[in-house]
Structures are given as structure tokens and as C-alpha cells.
Amino acid sequence: MDPGIFLQLLLNGIVIGVIYALVAMGLSLIFGVLELVNFAHGEFYMLAAMLAYFLTMRLSLGYAATVAVVTILAVCLGYVFYEALLVHIHGGGFERSILLTLGLSMVLQNGAVFLFTTTPRMIETPLSYANIVAGSVRVSVTRVLALALGLVAFAALYLILYRTRIGRAMRGVAQNREAALMVGIDPRAVSRLAVAIGIGLSGLAGAALAPVYAVHPLMGFSFVFKAFAIIILGGLGNIAGAAIMAVALGIVESVVGGFLPLVMVDALVFSSMIGMLLLRPEGLFGRGVRV
């Protein structure tokens, strides 16, 4: 096994893993704090990628500016998403959250198909064809930038969760909703922020990946099931677990994808999920945030 190939697969796996982590951590944060599953999470990632394409190609905004604008708008969208819809089903609305987010995913996905047609769009900037070559290993610059953005997002989320009061409040609500209420934490403000950060993260992932992959209304769908697998394997509500699982999954998919037929990889992902659950029902890292 020529080391160059293994290195190529490993590096590629890490990049995909970090991006999976961005999407999965957002989903895990929303599940941890609000205890509801967001089936429309993939669609927010898609909308962010669409917006990034529009800003880059139509308004010829720079890479950094596009990422910043898209992420901020995603955070605002998270606020609106919570206040408009999620606030009504707060507290024990698990099955209603499934239906609400499924409905929203249909509206966003098919609405995007209606408005932008399904024609795939590629971001064509000088950046998108630049490659870094080291021996036989080649990585495109846009992937390395996506990796960097991912790591920055990890650090930012860690700081927010473990170094700020609101972060501590969020972890408190996630671990025990009643206890948090009793000490005067306003669950609505905390949940709203959690949704805003969660959608912001998937917005960042969309902006980071827009230059790497083709942008089209159905790109979000395949991500959702992988993100579910990751947050479950990592331990529901456990954000660190979701991040580690995501990177591990990215690496496994890439390295194994280099040997087994590609379709076997998906079968492998889902059967390992079943196997993992039967051995450690609460996921690799335990319930984590939720005691």
C-alpha cells in the first residue's frame, strides 16, 4: 500500500470529517438543549451554500467575506426559525418536532427547486482550481480552507460552551431542564441561542463547502442521515462526542472507500451504527452533556 495513497485518503478523510462535524455538532447542540430532532438541518446547509454561490459569483464577494456574511445570516435565520416555529412546540414536543421539521424540510427543499431549478452550479474562482501538491498527495486549496474554518468553529464553540456564562447555562439546560429552571435560567433565551448557533454552524459548513462541491437544492438531504448516525454514535446531546465521531467517520469513509466498493461504505456506516448501539447503547461517549 503506497504511503502516498494512504496519506491522500487520510487527509481527505479528515477534511470531510471536519465538515461532517460542523453539521453534526449543530444538530447535536439543538437536540441536547431542546431535546428535538431537526430534520430540516440539511436544508439550512443547502441554503447557506446557495447563498455563498450567489455572493461569490453574482456579487463577486471574496472568500472570507462570503463565509462571514453567510454565517451571520445563518445565525439570524436560526433566531427566526426558533421564534417562528420551534417556540410553539417547546417542552416535550418530540414527535411534533419531527413533523414540524419534516414539513419545513419539504418547504425549503422544494421551494429552492422551484426558485433556483435543480441545475447544479459550481463556484468558479481562481481559488477553486488551486491545488497544494506534496509528493503524490494533492489537496485542493478550498478543502484546506474548509478544514481551517472547521477547526476555527470547533474552537469558537468550545469557548462559548465552556468559557461563557450563557454556554454554561446551555449545558445546564441540556443536562437537566428542571434544575436549570429552578436556578432561574430562562430556557427560552438559552434554547433560542442554541438553535441560532446550531443553524450558524451548518451555515458555516455550507459556506465552507460551496466552493468544494456542486451547489444544488438536493445537496442537503444526503448529509442529514450521516449527521444522525454521527450524533447517535457520539452519544445524543454530547457535542464533543459528535465532533470526534464525525472526524472518525470521515476518515473511515475515505480510507475504506479507497478499498471497498463505494456503496459498501454506506452499508458499513449503517451496520456499524447498529452494531455500536447493541454494544454501547448510550453511544461511544455516553450521554455526555445529558446526565
Binding site: L85, H88, I89, G93, E95, R96, I98, L99, L100, L102, G103, L104, S105, M106, V107, Q109, N110, G111, F114, F225, F228, A229, I232, L236, V263, M264, D266, A267, F270, S271, M273, I274, L277, L278, P281
Partner: protein, 325 residues
């Protein structure tokens, strides 16, 4: 018990009307809607038994539906079985698979059952598409033969949609009757007890695992048979039978109908089996409107139609006349 007799009479009348439809109108579209309603009522009825009554969130129904379809198609085309034997065998296989999934994951928690059922449904789609030697891969199995039923003195060849309408509606009526008998019996009461408070049910001598496996196996068996009949109506079975779209539709029917409400889910299955087609007047915005209807339904009917009925029943008890000590 007059209310019971009235209900039974109402149900019989409803069934009689449904069976008379093919005679009243030659409009094959109504028959297609009827077939879709009948098939979905069996699937959503099963999901309601597992999720609405026993409290087990399951994504596996579509897997059992597809297993039933593929097994029947393979047995009929490869082993020259009759559709009847093939569909029942498909149902039995689906029930066995359901028991394996149920037993292995339920010993852990309801939560892991939901996840294993989701992975199972997605794995079915992958297997159907890629295990070409077993399932003929992405091309599926086209050209399923016209099934026939040879009874002494009467030979029924199911070649026209009306025949499949009678078949699937007849099967749906039997399935709903079986569901009704189960949920209105003490078995149904035990299932609701498990959903409402599992430890308390255990302290009353109820073994939750037995009832959960009963709910899973029964709903899988009926879903498998429905799958077998449905693919012969389509004359083809292909991997798209495991489409997550079906899971969404079933979940929507149960949640809007109100989990744990028999008539609520049956009613919502009728409306929601037709709704995507009634929205066909807008080619492009069909699914957008469908999504909007879901969001609106959840904001207006929080507990679904059934939930709304329950709250009305509760209000009757809160009248001031009820003095508490």
C-alpha cells in the same frame, strides 16, 4: 352498549360504501386513490399500534413493506408460488426480521430501537439496490404476472384495477378489524399502560418486551402482506419501494391523526393518502404546499386530531361539579 352497536353499524356502512364505489363509478383514479388509502391505512395502522399505543418510535415499517413486496415478487417469479402464499410468506419474513430487530434493541432502550429501525430501513434500500444476485439491483423486478385465485366454481383473475381495489381494500378492512380487536382488548390496554408508565406496568406483572414484540411482529406481518399485494398491483417492485418518503407519510398520518387514537389515524390516513394528489393542480408547488400543511397542522393541532378529542374528553371531567376533597 348502544354506542358500541352504533359505532359498529357506522363502520359496516362505511365499508359497504367503500366496496360499492367500483360499481358506482368507472373512474379508475378513484380506485387508485382507494388502493393507496387501503395500503397506507395498513401501514399507518401498524405504526400507530407500535408508536401510538406502545410508545415505540419506529422507522422500520417501510422496510417490512418492501421485504413483503420483494419476497412475494421473487417467490412468484422464481419459485412459481401463488401470490397468496408469496405475500403471506413475505409477511412472515417481515415479522421475523421485526422480531430480531426488536429483541436485539429493545433489551437496551426504546431509544436504541428507534435508531436501529432507521438504520434498518436505510440498509434495506442499499441491499435492494446493490445485492444484485438477490434483488436484481436497481432495475428491480418488472413484469410481475397477473395473479389469479382458483376457488371451486369461481376463478378470479386480478387484471383490472377494480380487482386490486377489492383485494387491497378487503385486506385493509381485515387488518383494521384485527388492529381494532387488539387495541380495544386488554392487550391494547396493556400496551397503553407500557407507553404511559412502563415501570408501573412491570410492577403490575406486565412483561413489556412481550407486548412490544407482539406489536412489532403484528404490524410487520400485515405491512409485509400489504407490500406483496401492492407490488403486484404496480406490476413491478424496485428499490424505490423503500423510499423515505413513505416513512414520512406514515409518520405524518399517525401524528396528525393523534398517536393512540384508532379512528383519528384511520381518518387522517384517508385524507393524507389523497392530499398529495389533490394538490396536483399545482405541478411545481405541490410538495411545498404539502410541507406547509404539515407545519400548519402541527401549530394548530398540537396533539393531532386524536389529541384534540382527548382534550375535549378531559375538559368534560374538569366541570366545577367535580369536588376534590
Amino acid at each position: 352498549m348502544t354506542r358500541g352497536w352504533l359505532g359498529a353499524l357506522g363502520a359496516l356502512l362505511g365499508v359497504a360504501v367503500l366496496f360499492a364505489i367500483p360499481r358506482l363509478t368507472g373512474n379508475e383514479y378513484l380506485l387508485a386513490l382507494g388502493i393507496s388509502f387501503a395500503t397506507f391505512s395498513v401501514l399507518s395502522g401498524g405504526l400507530n399500534l407500535v408508536y401510538g399505543y406502545t410508545g415505540l418510535l419506529s422507522f422500520a415499517q417501510v422496510g417490512f413493506f418492501g421485504i413483503g413486496g420483494y419476497t412475494a415478487a421473487l417467490l412468484v417469479t422464481e419459485r412459481a408460488w401463488s401470490l397468496w402464499a408469496g405475500a403471506v410468506a413475505g409477511g412472515v419474513l417481515a415479522a421475523l426480521v421485526g422480531l430480531v430487530i426488536g429483541y436485539s434493541s429493545l433489551r437496551l432502550s426504546r431509544h436504541s430501537f428507534a435508531i436501529v429501525s432507521l438504520s434498518f430501513a436505510l440498509l434495506c434500500m442499499i441491499v435492494a439496490r446493490d445485492w444484485v444476485s438477490l434483488t436484481r439491483g436497481a432495475m428491480g423486478i418488472p413484469g410481475l404476472p397477473v395473479p389469479g385465485l382458483d376457488l371451486p366454481g369461481w376463478r378470479w383473475r386480478l387484471s383490472r384495477p377494480a380487482d386490486f381495489y377489492y383485494l387491497l381494500l378487503g385486506f385493509a378492512v381485515m387488518a383494521q378489524a384485527l388492529f381494532y380487536v387488539v387495541v380495544s382488548s386488554r392487550l391494547g390496554r396493556a400496551m397503553r399502560a407500557i407507553k404511559l408508565n412502563e415501570p408501573l406496568a412491570q410492577s403490575h406483572g406486565i412483561d413489556p418486551l412481550r407486548y412490544k414484540l407482539l406489536a412489532i411482529a403484528l404490524s410487520a406481518w400485515l405491512a409485509g402482506i400489504a407490500g406483496g399485494f401492492f407490488v403486484f398491483y404496480l406490476t413491478i417492485v424496485d428499490p424505490s419501494i423503500f423510499d423515505f418518503y413513505y416513512t414520512e407519510t406514515m409518520l405524518i398520518m399517525v401524528i396528525i391523526g393523534g398517536p393512540g387514537s384508532f379512528w383519528g389515524v384511520l381518518g387522517s390516513s384517508a385524507v393524507l393518502a389523497a392530499l398529495p394528489d389533490l394538490l396536483r393542480f399545482t405541478t411545481d408547488l405541490r410538495m411545498v404546499l404539502y410541507g406547509a400543511v404539515l407545519i400548519a397542522a402541527m401549530l394548530i393541532f398540537p396533539g393531532g386530531v386524536g389529541g384534540w378529542l382527548d382534550r375535549r374528553r378531559l375538559r368534560r371531567w374538569r366541570r366545577p361539579s367535580l369536588t376534590t376533597p
